[in-house]
């Protein structure tokens, strides 16, 4: 292909590239990344599919308004430096979002090229450039000019990491307090290695460290120190402690051995490395694993169970395929790996053996009724449709809520009725100088929305400090 300007017609003639990936049968037995990433030639060709639309609909589709056409143009011109610079300014964790954003309902959904055919593979290109930058560009240096201000960040998930990076670039002294022994939040303990290798998270954190961000692990705000201790010691604070409280089904038998919350199941495997043969952290395995839920967490759990040796790994979801909130790519990958989808079923009771281990679950079939508050059609039980499914492992992946550990110790912080922190449009909470964002404000959302909050908060914190 020539490097000269292409006509729109020539651009239209290029077909969407495909992502090279591990063979499904093979990858269902290992924890290595499923997608290999694009090579340079495919990336450049893919970027040339972009029509550089004046309307820039793709930009509107991205929660952080990444300058997608400029980015794609730079990739098309093999100017990866410029492409990386655009990412750096607009998107703090591009290697992550390129892998885990639900592109099909964001940037790629509204891409003009998707109207007739396939949208430009914006996510894959983002990942390509981010990985290129990690390999070819040095870590950023701390800013020349430091301010006299200090900011504390609570939580090292995507919202906290983004806020930390932005604030450090502005010259403020930033300290991140993290409850766990390692960074990344859900990126580390939730999303599995085969979707987001932990070296990616390590690299993002290393960048922040070279910007001068300090990390303090094992600090549980609300327990080890309080928010008011933080506000005494620091000039401002950003709270990004996520929504990590697991919900259970509230059916009999839920405390049998072999029944896990997805948080516990994934934390054991990802944070504690239970999938490695030499890990001291155990994880239960069994021939049939059944996972309740239809989101990314459910897909991650069921694919993990398959990789841990379950012959039958089943998604049991109470609505239909169309309502599944998981990313398309994950559902597709799960199907390829032989995951069974049992749709329109809801658990009624879990049965165990004399040994206290789960043996089976009684399910009820459902049908779709009227739309509910979420706009999705509500599942309604079908009378007399109960049946029993054998199961050795059950994982409950039906969502999480706000963890009250921090907020309980800080009654001044205004919460909504679900326990999420209330903020104004600048992410400021009811306590002046204390900002919040990500899942603790939104309820379970996405990585990119959490990052968007972190970025907006960083801007507002900078303003706040300068006018203080």
């Amino acid at each position: 292909m020539s490097d000269q300007e292409l006509t729109p017609k020539e651009r239209m003639a290029i077909e969407r590239t495909s992502m090279p990936e591990q063979d499904p049968a093979r990858r269902a037995t290992n924890f290595e990344e499923v997608n290999f990433g694009l090579d340079e030639e495919s990336a450049v060709r893919e970027a040339k599919r972009c029509l550089m639309c004046k309307t820039r609909q793709c930009v509107d589709g991205c929660p952080v308004a990444l300058r997608i056409p400029e980015f794609l143009e730079a990739v098309a011109n093999r100017d990866f430096n410029t492409a990386a610079e655009i990412l750096r300014v607009d998107n703090a964790l591009p290697a992550t979002t390129g892998r885990v954003c639900p592109q099909e309902v964001q940037c790629e959904e509204v891409c003009v090229r998707g109207k007739k055919g396939d949208p430009v593979a914006i996510g894959w290109l983002e990942r390509f450039v981010a990985d290129w930058a990690a390999e070819n560009l040095p870590n950023p240096a701390p800013p020349d000019k430091k301010t006299a201000f200090s900011v504390a960040i609570v939580g090292s998930g995507p919202s906290g990491l983004t806020a930390a990076g932005e604030l450090a670039r502005m010259g403020h002294s930033v300290t991140v307090f993290e409850a766990l022994h390692d960074s990344g939040g859900v990126l580390r303990y939730g999303i599995p290695e085969f979707r987001l290798p932990k070296r990616i998270v390590d690299a993002e954190v290393a960048c922040l460290e070279s910007l001068g961000v300090k990390f303090e692990f094992n600090v549980i705000v609300g327990k080890t120190i309080t928010v008011s201790q933080i506000t005494d010691e620091f000039d401002a604070c950003f709270i990004g402690n996520g929504a990590g409280l697991p919900m259970f089904l509230n059916v009999p038998g839920e405390n049998l051995k072999g029944v896990y919350s997805s948080n516990e199941y994934l934390t054991r495997v990802n944070l504690m490395g239970a999938y490695k043969p030499d890990s001291p952290t155990p994880i239960a395995t069994g021939n049939t694993a059944v996972v309740f839920g239809g989101g990314n967490t459910a897909m991650d759990s069921v694919r993990t169970a398959k990789r841990l040796g379950s012959k039958r790994a089943v998604i049991a979801y109470r609505r239909s395929r169309a309502e599944m909130p998981a990313r398309n790519e994950e559902i597709h990958h799960a199907e390829e790996e032989g995951i069974e989808f049992m749709l329109l079923v809801s658990p009624l009771e879990i049965f165990g053996g004399d040994d206290g281990w789960v043996k089976s679950v009684r399910l009820q079939k459902m049908e779709l009724g009227e739309p509910d508050a979420s706009g999705r059609r509500r599942p309604v039980p079908i009378a007399g449709s109960e049946f029993v499914l054998e199961a050795d492992i059950l994982v409950v992946a039906i969502g999480t809520r706000a963890n009250p550990l921090l907020t309980a110790a800080c009654p001044e912080l205004k919460l909504n009725k679900w326990g999420n922190i209330e903020t104004d449009e600048n992410q400021m909470t009811s306590i002046p100088g204390v900002f919040a964002g990500g899942d603790i404000v939104r309820g379970g959302a996405t990585v990119i929305l959490a990052m968007g909050d972190g970025k907006r908060a960083a801007g507002a914190i900078d303003q706040y400090l300068r006018t203080k």
Binding site: N30, N218, K223, N255, P282, I283, T285, I393
Partner: protein, 282 residues
Amino acid sequence: MYEVISNELIAPGIHRIEVRAPRIAAARLPGQFVIVRRGEGDERIPLTIADADTQAGTITLIIQAIGEGTEKLAAIEPGGGIRDVAGPLGMPTGIEKVGKVVCVGGGVGTAVLFPLAKALADAGNHVTAIIGARSEEFAMLRDELAEFCDEVIVTTEDGSLGIKGFVTAALGEIIEDPARRPEAIYAVGPVPMMAAIAEQTRPSGIHTIVSLNPIMVDGTGMCGGCRVTVGGEIKFACVDGPEFDGHLVDFRELATRQQAYCDDQHCRLADATAQTGPEDDA
């Protein structure tokens, strides 16, 4: 790194170690615990904060070496370090002056009991401690407890010290004597001991508080692995506890859940080779 200041053997296999952790020392209250990780790649292990010195910025842990994780911790020499110490976790004990209390500790549970007994004595209660052990050498902390308790009773299974038998016998004598009958009982030890005491005090309705030790991962309410049934409701021991009303706890469930990873019972694949994957076909 959290520096280990001292490490002392106080009973066979039971170590008392002092760790520098100033923030935790300042924040902790009796009844709370920490989660420690010896080094990179090691398990997270919950341990009660047995004591703290705010001035020196240290906390005291009493560790019974019963498995890989606790053995590694117990082996740290003074001057060595623990990679992670997170806390204080859990709800502090509600310490009030109620009058007479009995604190019953079984095995390493005595370590968990120690800060409670101390706080209860400081609050002006009449504290009787009953410590149960296999034999004299395992009856730990009896001199330390005697410093602030009004009475310390030791029971040993082999009769080598104090009363021969179990703690329930000694406790039975106290609750049946109207002059000694306590307003509250704190019991910490192996699940069967706590369950037995809860049954023993149920008829009289004496407030009986137990400290539960289910298997934990994060200790912050994030995983739900520590869930226990109390009064028919699911509670997370790490954030709602670890202390609960003993008369409401489902001890059978707790006992079976604690065994989940014993003797490889959690490996439930029919074909054990399935986990290793297919031959390398590269």
